[in-house]
Amino acid sequence: MSETTLNGIAGHMPKFIRRADPAVLTAFACIVLLLFVGSLYSRSFLSPEYLLQQLKVASFLGVIATGMMLVVLLGQIDLSVPWAVAAGAMMACAAAAYGPVGVALAIPFGILCGVGIGIVNGIGVAYLRIPSMIITLATNAVAQGLMVVYTGGYSPQDSATGAMRYLATGFIIPGVPNAVIIWALIGAAMVFVLTRTGFGRTVYGIGNRERAAYLSGIDTRRVVMIAFAVSGGLSAFGGVLLAGYASKAAQSMGDAYLLPSIAAVVLGGTSILGGRGSYLGTVAGVILITLLQSILSVMQMPEAGRQIIYGVVIVAMLLLYGRAPASR
């Protein structure tokens, strides 16, 4: 098809661009476009303070989308993000109520709750072969049920620990928010895992063809299980950071992260069918989504309009480059 012409043109480009996925390039191009549109609305849009603030907001989504990406690379999906986020936040805050030990263990405990949700997902997908879409919806419902029972249906009264606030809002390096550093660290770890480790190769392999991976002697079920556990853990960690940011947890705090995390991953060029995608793309997707949200709020777009624009942008971009090949 057009691959040959594309390669022909690409041959004249620098190596790093030639190797990049067109989807990633498109996503970055859209970021530039959004920044341009934004700067028309407000001068301060291009100021370093504002951009850094955006990066900070993006880092919460970035942490959550990292886990989502791992699962999507396997050709699966994690729809338990909303309540994994909420459970992580609520449980971390809840632990803080149990004296100094609780405060110290708040963050790991919150993450562990997310890992637990992820493990249930992983067992369902890997060992019981339940479609991930279904089992993760179910665990999401169970997690919600547990949280509703625990909190009595109200926003929990416990507030975030100092450590959580420090991670989300503090500055260990002057000028660079800690949340951004955390995202950078998690992102770097993810890039390393995906490109340098056997586990990463296996993830791509399973995403491409689990049958072939299995017949290559890989324990594919264990890999899938681990990926879901990591996704649950990262969602919960995102929740912990969000709780630190807002000083407390809230009932439906995770709802706003499901669609954006999936959108960030697929807009960044990761195939929803699995096996293809780079972390750089996810970074681009996360920033793109965050900027879009920011511009819509600068434009004082009501929630309804935001949802519509969101949905339309995602469908439009996927139609541009996320289509399955024609059958004939």
Partner: protein, 513 residues
């Protein structure tokens, strides 16, 4: 029959997939009231030819004429409407629907816009009866039927469409002997009713019994057309492969001493209705072939060794010690050291979109890693060794393996396992759909590996390969080992007669028991 205008004619048909030419200026003429056999090696273009005829793929160039008028088919449905119906090798039945639903699927009878179930039932029963399969209940779900019954449904479904041209692509491969003879009766009757039948088969005896006209394909072209019976089998085989085939196999070494302890041994392996009490052994340095018609349990046997099948009864022994292999990851472990070159390299052997490098190291990631991190230097060295050893032709290690030719893809599948230096190598029809040159290299490689001490179990659908490569051949029929051929006993005649000579084996069954 010999009217001025043939019923159907294809001219100058070409079709490319990526860089591979599947058909190159192919021609074919089909007459009404005759059975036309199409022969050719795997990958000679037969399947593509049929797919073009049946509207499954669109040709790049060329034209087709029905009754002298040019036609094009946008879809299989369009071809069906024109009276061309194909029974595909891969079954085209919908598993969750009933037999009757399937038989009428392309054109169900309707009343007031809804499907008329009574009429549907009637049509299905008629069609099943015509195909000689009245024993199949029209309400049964297709997924609940055994493979041989499904194939009969497939034939009934084709007949229900009232075809003018009926194409059978390896349609008898899963059938029992009784069904085959029934089907032959049906086909002969259809011929006398004036249908044109296009018959694709690897089985020379079937072609000899049925065909009026034969066309041989090679490398995407029709190379010869002749009336059935006018050429000897040897001549036909030469037309198919285009050269003497006796030269292409490496010389066999003297047989491994029977006293040598076997590396791989099976004792009374049984699994569902597919494997029946199989015992065999393979020694180091031996190439043992698995023969027989396609689908007699050879694939299942290899999967059983490799830990894929559940509920296996009997014993598997490695170096004389019983082992339990519950997964491929166990099978490849050090104490066992097994490798399987699977049936379908595109879905089971490789991840096509991933790079050559990633595919090559995929089965050996544990060996290439320290603390989970891939040692790139070791990886590179081993990959270079393999690319050299197998002479894999690739534009680079970082291009998708899907861009390689079929033969080089298969080399990658083999190489990825050789990176673990396996002691036991199971090969499932590894030369299917690859070019003759690569085949030769693989034969040489197999012998080289055996000489270096590997125990090789080699299933092939190509009898010549079994003859040329194997020290011993076990012929399977209906999940059981029917005959073992050793050394000079391995001849085409012996292979075919033990694989096909069904009546003899049924007669002697009493004696066997």
């Amino acid at each position: 029959m010999n009217g001025a205008v043939p019923l159907f004619r294809m001219e100058g048909i070409s079709k490319r997939y990526g860089g591979v030419r599947a058909l190159e200026q192919a021609e074919l003429t089909v007459e009404a009231g005759s059975i036309h056999a199409v022969l050719g090696e795997n990958g000679a273009g037969k399947s593509t030819l049929i797919k073009v005829m049946a509207g499954v793929v669109a040709p790049d160039e060329g034209r087709m004429m029905l009754d002298g008028h040019e036609v094009t088919f946008a879809s299989p449905g369009a071809a069906n409407k024109a009276g061309i119906v194909c029974i595909f090798q891969e079954l085209s039945l919908v598993p969750e629907l009933s037999v009757a639903d399937n038989i009428v699927i392309s054109d169900p009878p309707t009343r007031f816009g809804m499907i008329d179930r009574k009429a549907q039932r009637r049509i299905a029963e008629e069609a099943l009866a015509r195909a000689g399969a009245a024993d199949i209940h029209p309400l049964a779900l297709v997924k609940d039927l055994p493979l041989s019954r499904r194939q009969m449904v497939e034939i009934a479904k084709a007949l229900a469409r009232k075809p003018r041209i009926l194409i059978l692509d390896e349609a008898t491969s899963a059938l029992t002997a009784t069904d085959v003879s029934k089907i032959f009766g049906v086909l002969k009757r259809l011929r006398s009713e004036g249908l044109a039948l296009l018959y694709i088969s690897h089985r020379m005896n079937e072609i000899a019994e049925l065909a009026d006209q034969c066309t041989v394909f090679r490398n995407g072209r029709n190379v010869a057309s002749y009336p059935a019976g006018s050429k000897s089998d040897n001549e036909v085989v030469e037309l198919m492969i285009g050269r003497e085939y006796s030269h292409i196999f490496p010389a066999k070494p003297p047989p491994v001493a029977a006293t040598t302890a076997p590396v791989l041994e099976a004792r009374k392996l049984s699994w569902t209705d597919r494997l029946d009490n199989i015992s065999l052994s393979v020694r180091a340095g031996e190439v043992v072939g698995l023969g027989g018609l396609d689908g007699q349990g050879q694939r299942e046997l290899l999967l059983a060794f490799f830990g894929v099948l559940r509920g296996l009864s009997g014993q598997i022994l490695i170096d004389g010690k019983p082992v339990s292999i519950a997964s491929p990851s166990k099978a490849r472990e050090d104490g066992i050291g097994m490798a399987l070159i699977p049936e379908d390299r595109k879905t089971e052997g490789l991840m096509l979109p991933m790079t050559v490098r990633e595919n090559l190291s995929f089965a050996a990631l544990d060996r290439l890693s320290k603390a989970g991190i891939i040692d790139r230097v070791t990886e590179q060295r081993l990959i270079d060794d393999m690319v050299g050893l197998l002479a894999i032709k690739t534009a680079g290690l970082d291009i998708p393996v899907g861009a390689l030719s079929g033969g080089n893809q298969q080399k990658v599948v083999i190489a990825k396992w050789l990176m673990r230096q396996p002691r036991i190598i199971l090969l499932n029809d590894p030369t299917r759909g690859i070019d003759v040159g690569t085949k030769q290299e693989l034969y040489q490689l197999m012998r080289k590996l055996a000489d270096a001490g590997a125990a090789i179990l080699f299933y092939s659908t190509d009898y010549d390969e079994l003859i040329g490569c194997c020290d011993r051949v076990l012929v399977l029929y209906d999940g059981a080992v029917k005959r073992e051929l050793v050394g000079a006993e391995i001849t085409e005649r012996a292979l075919i007669s033990s694989a096909l000579n069904i009546h003899e084996s049924t007669m002697s069954q009493g004696a066997d028991a």
